[in-house]
Symmetry: C2
Subunit: 306 residues, 2 copies
């Protein structure tokens, strides 16, 4: 969907640091939405950076971070969550006064707390988390529509309002709905909506016996889909939000025990009631997603299950 | 996909008892694959039976089970799992000698054990479980391709080989790959591949807080999709395989604890290894599904996740 939402953004040059799925999707969305400034893709030499240039997601590739940082008035750091603090510090050290830096990491407290101090005067960091992505990695899977009708959480804390407003405008220009949250509130919420589901999907995928593999159907496949995500990236996310994830796993285990106990006792009435509440809660969650047009009864894919 | 696989089936009249998603999909598949005999849809008066006739899935609708049974040489019982034993007995009492009866229930021991005795002389019951379905219920969602390239488990135990072969030919004519198993082996396997994932999905959907609903993405949606299945049907399935499901939940909980402990200890190496094993096991399962053309890295839908 091409439009001109990004044409009026108040940035001359945007540096995208880390040209994987998220970084290149940001670049692709800016281009397709009419951004008039310059886009610099920055990262290690390799396939992602080459693809970013070849597919014209960015105007230039830069492996020298200091050069990219000093040329940019907005820097979006899309590196793995356990590298973002270090990367922001490096980039901030080379940036001009007035430069705004944000990230796209799935955890916020472990990133925003250390970065609330120690940056050079005039360089502002505000955390972001666009709740969009894919288990498919890399620039090759980038999509200019990745952020459309998705939530992007922005965690300003004490940042100047003018900087926050510029950042909100940036994500809105990519099609996202922006929600402001405290980093710790973001992390508690995302543990429940994303990180615990990942742990659960992985645990489920891990305990399937080899001799039963041919007896799975769409139900197993969907329930475990996110377990196909990149193990290193996800380990960093889970460890970056460890206490909220461990709390969330405990809550989930209690919910699981209630269902298992109803089964063990043969309590059909209680079991139906638990399954009904789960179904209603799921459907309310799907209805609550922004701009979501979907069949409340099921997934978009209509994938078959046992 | 129309073909003539069902043209040569050795049945003059097939009775489909229970005209919901599965029953009507069987009827639709038989018609689209050239079945030359007569199809009788049998069930309670109502929308499903009307749709079955109006969409010409069946040649006639019958609310008198005895009439349908006495006219059929194959009867496929597609009622909820906790009604199948009673329904097969009722139908068998009215059937002619030589009639073959099967079912489509997701549990097998609780159905096949009681039905191994007490049926009238000459009436044979052999259990079936086509591993296909949808969280969408009812004849309106029927598909003639529902069983194509899916596994159908058949649990013959001591039935005459000629009857078993006729039943295998029936499911193959609908496009399924048939696997013979003992009822108890089927139940142990399906607990792992389908019933425990259902319990896990429901438990996960149930523990999402209302204030976090707008922060879910495709990961949560897919992981919980099967929790949108019908609570009454699923309660019957889970209670019909209670001991295997409870055992399976215990195995899953151990797998979950291992991941949670690695997170709590901050053991990145162990966590990556657990996530990598889960990813590999999931992808091996997807590769093992019959005739499955899919991207090993992800779902067919390409649905986005956090």
């Amino acid at each position: 969907m091409s439009n001109t939402c990004a044409a009026g953004l108040p940035f001359q040059t945007i540096g995208i640091v880390g040209c994987g799925l998220i970084g290149c999707s940001i670049a692709a969305a800016l281009k397709s939405r009419g951004f008039k400034g310059r886009l610099i893709g920055c990262g290690r030499p390799g396939a992602n950076l080459e693809t970013a240039v070849n597919r014209r997601f960015v105007d230039a590739a830069e492996t020298d971070w200091a050069k990219a940082a000093s040329a940019s008035d907005l820097i979006v750091v899309c590196t793995p969550v356990d590298q973002i603090v270090r990367d922001v510090r490096t980039l901030a050290g080379a940036a001009r006064a007035g430069t705004l830096i944000t990230d796209a990491g799935s955890v916020k407290r472990a990133i925003c707390e250390p970065l609330s101090t120690g940056l050079p005067q005039g360089v502002v960091f505000v955390g972001s988390h666009p709740i969009a992505g894919s288990e498919k990695q890399g620039c090759a899977h980038a999509s200019s529509e990745l952020f459309e009708k998705r939530i992007c959480v922005v965690t300003p804390k004490s940042a100047a309002r003018s900087a926050v407003e510029r950042l909100i405008g940036f994500w809105q220009a990519l099609g996202a709905t922006v929600v402001e949250m405290l980093p710790e509130d973001h992390d508690a919420a995302l543990a429940q909506t994303s990180h615990v589901p990942h742990v659960v999907a992985a645990a489920l995928a891990a305990c399937l016996g080899a001799s039963n593999r041919h007896l799975t159907a769409g139900g197993f496949q969907d329930t475990t889909r996110i377990a196909s995500g990149d193990p290193e990236l996800w380990a960093a996310i889970l460890l970056g939000n460890a206490s909220a994830v461990v709390d969330g796993v405990r809550d989930f285990s209690e919910s699981l025990s209630a269902v298992a106990q109803a089964i063990e006792k043969g309590d059909k009435r209680a079991l139906i009631e638990l399954l009904r509440c789960a179904k209603e809660n799921r459907e309310a969650a799907i209805d609550a997603r922004p701009g979501r047009v979907t069949d409340r009864e099921g997934s978009e894919s209509g994938e078959m299950i046992e």
